[in-house]
Amino acid sequence: MGRIICVLAAALCLTGAAGAAWEPGAAARELSDALPEAAGEYLDGAEYGASGFAGGVARILEGVRAKVGGVVRRRTKGAAAVLLSAILCGAVRSGCGDAEQTSLCLSMAGALSVTALTAGSLEQLIGLGWKTIGELDEFSKAILPAMAAAVAATGSVNTATFQQVTTFFLVETLLSLMDGFLMPLTYLYIGLLTASCALSGNFLEALADGLKKFIAALLTNAVLLFTVYLSVCRILAGAADGMAVRAVRTAVTNTVPVVGGILAQVSESVLAGAGMLKNSLGVFGMLAVVAACAYPFLELGAQYLLYKAVAVLASVAGMPELRRLIDGLGGAFGLVLGMTGSAALLLFVSLLSFLTAAAP
């Protein structure tokens, strides 16, 4: 962590006039404090120059690769227990015949055991996803003002402001949408799935399917809408910045040549400093977002894929009802993965917009 502060402070110190009203050491410390826990582990010693992104991503991938074995082993144990209960149910069914009463009993027993075996992972992984979303929210509160200050120094004051404030509001809105609406619906989806498996052949399965599609559509459309809104804000604010800069240029051309020369030199110097600061912060921010999501994505992704695989195997074992339940539970992990990814994507898009904001 110490090295992160040093590298950041060095990057911020190099920015000259752009950082004049901003103490680099304090800003670097603030950013480093807000850095998500997992990100700090991967980014210690990374470079944040323009070419540092690829190196940072490679460092993150290396860190993740070291954890793949442990995560897959841990998740496979849980998935194997679920598969075993499906195989046992299938074996009992093939042994006792396909009578309606036996099928119903086996469906109930299977649903109960699968849900019980999944409950621990569900709680742990939903908690992990939610913790990551919270950490990204905290990090956005530190990185976005710093990025906005750097972009504003290039003359794009309106773009910087709109970008920062709008992202804050959008992240806040997305979080409250997840917390107050999407998460409870995800739990409802899990409940419906379990009940539909225990009472096979009823309307609950269709209801659960519909609910899952609704959650996914709501999440996708919310992120799409937010991204479009952010882009529109950026275009409108960019036009306002362009007009302001044209007015300043007219004022400069009307001044005496020596003063005009000073203003041109200062503009160039501030622009260069702010550009460097913007790039360093942008690379750092994007790497931090990727690093913060790497481990939760690995855990949730592994669980999602394993449950999908187990669902297919459960079907082969002669328990199609359990296939639907296990597949659906995998889908619930996918929904949590989607929510975490949405928060990360919004922050990533915002940082990318800051980075690509051209001086007016």
Partner: protein, 158 residues
Amino acid sequence: MIRAVKEWLLSVVMLSFLISLLRLLLPEGNLRKVGAFTGSLVLTAAILRPLARLEPQWPEWDWERYESAIAERTEELGGRREEAFRAEVEARSAELVRAKAEELGLTVSAVVTARTENGTPLPWGVRLDAPRNAALSEWLREALNIPPERQQWADGGP
């Protein structure tokens, strides 16, 4: 929240179990059909129970807060940029004055103050630690647009 959800999940699962058991125990025929129907209704009610208590918190977009936040931040960032720009103009102008003084054979330390006009910081006044020099004073007026009345010399006179 997780605890409440676990309790709810458990109650749904247990109820499903009990209803299925009831279906198994009831004799085939109308009684079983009625039992299954009643059980489904009870289970549906149990599943939807949290929905009745659930107060969906649709996110609210507070436009007033959003607009005031934008206005505040624009002022803050604009002010910060202006401050940095003005400081740089002052420093570079002072450097230019010292260079010109050296060219005229003078050793002068200058502090230039700038003032923002129409969003552009321009040199406004200068304080020099040397007695008045007519050539430098004229240059300040012509090159930096600082008239003699805004030039402070060490001997006090403009």
